[in-house]
């Protein structure tokens, strides 16, 4: 069109663009949580890890001028928070859900405290790869400016799927998650396996946070996460602890988040609160459709405190 507008095509394009832009933090947190939960422990603190990751990535990127060092710092921060969670949970009679909630508050609080001086400065951002070079429609080009972290996340999902099935480490994690006694009988330390799984989970969640502050929306402020970490933890249950389903669920959530603003921009203005709630309605609908009173959740690791 002459005025540079693409009319109603904005909506599918925005949903596609949103699926790519918004899904990455969901993807990393849910894959991380998938590893942790498969080992038999729930880490609800990943919201705090996500926010801490976002803050530390922004800070390190600002101080060193290298956004990739920021991503690394976010991962390390996440792994440390994961180690803290695992450490506390390895004490006898400690409830991992309660520890997770405490760490969620601790992580967000600490990030807000340390992040105060980072709200004003502008840190170098992660670069985007232009996959829209074949199109001369600027809207398409904008939607296809993809960050490499998204690609890593997309590649990670099938790798994890494969690793859980066929590698020694994948089997060990699953054994610890399905039957701690069996793992012990095989001579493995369940606590050590869970410590490592929680640290890897935290590492990935931290990287998810770095995407928020260093790519999209692309700056540090205190409302940055607005509950995405918690949503991603719920996504894992929704995806039945399957990394591939985590990928699809994250993409669906990203696209659903873009739906409300996109519909308003083409003039569908009534009921925007409903469209803004689309991701949550989607979760509820799928939960209701897939749940059954006759059996427990399929795919749930037997050692998880929610299924025990």
């Amino acid at each position: 069109m002459a005025d540079g507008s693409i009319g109603l095509w904005t909506v599918p394009l925005a949903v596609l663009g949103g699926a790519i832009r918004v899904s990455t933090p969901f993807l990393f947190v849910s894959l991380g949580e998938c590893i942790t939960e498969r080992s038999g422990r729930i880490n609800l603190g990943l919201e705090g890890t996500l926010v801490m990751g976002a803050m530390s990535a922004y800070g390190i990127s600002y101080l060193t001028g290298s956004p990739w060092l920021g991503v690394l710092a976010a991962g390390i921060t996440g792994a440390l928070l994961g180690a803290l969670h695992a450490g506390i949970c390895s004490l006898p009679r400690v409830n991992d859900v309660a520890v997770g909630i405490a760490l969620m508050l601790f992580g967000t609080g600490l990030a807000f405290y340390l992040g105060k001086p980072l709200i004003e400065p502008t840190a170098p951002r992660l670069p985007a790869i232009d996959f829209g070079w074949w199109s001369d429609i600027p809207q398409v080009r904008a939607a296809l400016r993809i960050n490499v972290l998204f690609l890593i996340g997309v590649a990670l999902a099938p790798i994890l799927y494969w690793a859980f099935r066929t590698t020694r480490w994948g089997l060990l994690i699953r054994t610890a998650g399905e039957s701690a006694d069996a793992a012990r009988a095989m001579g493995h330390s369940v606590l050590l396996i869970r410590l490592r799984a929680t640290m890897v989970g935290g590492f990935l969640a931290g990287i998810g946070g770095s995407f928020l502050s260093l790519f999209y929306p692309g700056s540090w402020n205190e409302g940055l996460s607005s509950g995405q970490g918690i949503t991603a933890v719920a996504l894992v249950i929704f995806a039945r602890w399957d990394p591939l389903l985590c990928l699809w669920a994250s993409l669906a959530f990203g696209g659903a988040a873009a739906l409300g603003p996109a519909l308003q921009s083409v003039g569908v203005t009534s009921g925007y609160h409903l469209f803004n709630a689309a991701p949550y309605i989607l979760t509820l609908a799928i939960m209701i459709i897939t749940c059954s009173p006759k059996r427990t959740l399929t795919g749930a690791p037997a050692e998880l405190s929610i299924t025990r």
Binding site: R21, V22, I119, P217, G218, S226
Partner: protein, 370 residues
């Protein structure tokens, strides 16, 4: 008016010192320490609404004899009552500034009834005769600055499509959207403003999505009314669109894309309030003002603003600053559904309380309030 613990005598001494100090070129000094409490709904360095108030509070900190206590991220619930109580009972605050819209009724009104000797000043509320006499509400006609932003936007846009990222459809937000649109239409009759409501004051991901969707629709100048405009400004600039700022000056975030902006000027108002108390006249319960009263201001023009746009904007500014002022919302105004919202012949001047109940979007705005 009785200020109880503010101790009128001390304040009068302070006031005298203030005048003497000013006369002698010295910094004014309050004889005794007065504590002032500021309550923010978000983070006080959000590049936006709360930062503007915090800059005002910082201006008070420079006045000797005044102690400022602050609490940020206080939700618009019972929590603000607890904060007010602790500022009064633990810090000895005698003048309180709960700065967020939702603090006013019932929370601040309740506290003002409970502590009748202390003074409460609320930003944005609509004080009426039924409310306690020790409470007051102040606000700025920032729509005047938005009108000027609209003029600059209307003359800068190539597509004549403007975008507005808004939080919630409350009167103050609607008034800004409408003033921005009327400003643009005054110089560019073809101009339209597409509005997207994100649903809450701080939703960075939604704000970024809204910004991208608007630009996908061909919008090339954006502004916003959310708590922290940083997300909109940075994301719009990355896509090559121009922006008008809000709350504070965001030109440092996008020097090439920043045209102008509507800013609060609390650092001028709050010291004025303190002087009013010190001089014994007190703060009027209902306090309003715009560019002329220096409660709001506009950001300096960015490099992308043409000479024509500068001239048109300066002329509008001169009208607002003139003795008779200028009414943005004039008779014969239609909303975007074709209904007459202000009948022909009745101009609604800035101080008209009807404007603070605005529930419509004017002709030229694409969007709906619900």
């Amino acid at each position: 008016m009785d200020f109880g613990r503010i101790s009128r005598r001390h304040l009068l001494q302070g006031g005298a010192a203030l005048t003497l100090g000013a006369a002698a070129g010295l910094r004014p000094a309050f004889a005794a320490e007065t504590t002032i409490g500021f309550i923010y709904v978000g983070s006080r360095d959000d590049y936006g609404y709360n930062q503007a108030h915090a800059q005002g509070a910082a201006a008070l900190k420079k006045i000797p004899g005044l102690k400022v206590v602050e609490e940020e991220k206080v939700p618009e619930t019972d929590a603000v009552e607890k904060t007010i109580e602790s500022m009064i009972n633990l810090d000895g605050a005698t003048l309180l500034f709960p700065t967020s819209f939702g603090y006013y009724n019932p929370h601040m009104i309740k506290m003002a009834n409970k502590y009748p000797k202390l003074r409460f000043e609320h930003c944005g509320g609509l004080w009426s005769d039924k409310d306690p006499k020790n409470a007051g509400s102040y606000f700025g006609y920032i729509d005047e600055a938005q009108y000027i932003s609209g003029i600059v936007a209307g003359l800068t846009s190539k597509s004549s499509k403007l975008g507005f990222v808004a939080a919630k459809p409350i009167p103050q937000v609607l008034r800004n959207i409408n003033a921005f649109t009327l400003g643009a239409k005054s110089v560019n009759p073809k101009a339209t403003t597409q509005v997207i409501f994100t649903g809450d004051w701080s939703m960075p991901v939604k704000e970024a999505e809204a910004t991208n969707s608007l630009i996908d629709q061909g919008v090339d100048v954006l502004t916003c009314h959310v708590d922290g405009p940083k997300t909109m400004v940075e994301n719009a600039a990355r896509r090559g669109a121009f922006v008008c700022g809000y709350h504070t000056n965001q030109s440092a975030l996008a020097p090439k894309a920043y045209l102008t902006g509507a800013e609060w000027n609390w650092e001028a108002l709050y010291p004025k309030f303190v002087k009013m108390i010190a001089s014994g006249e007190g703060i009027p319960n209902f306090y309003r003002g715009g560019l002329k009263e220096e409660i709001v201001k506009t950001s300096p023009y960015g490099e992308a603003v043409s000479a024509e746009a500068r001239k048109a904007a300066d002329e509008a500014k001169a009208k607002f600053l003139s003795a008779e002022g200028y009414a943005i919302f004039k008779g014969g105004l239609l909303d975007n559904k074709g209904k007459t919202v202000i009948p022909a012949g009745t101009d609604r001047g800035q101080k008209d309380p009807e404007l603070e109940k605005m529930d419509y979007l004017v002709e030229g705005v694409i969007g709906a309030t619900s």
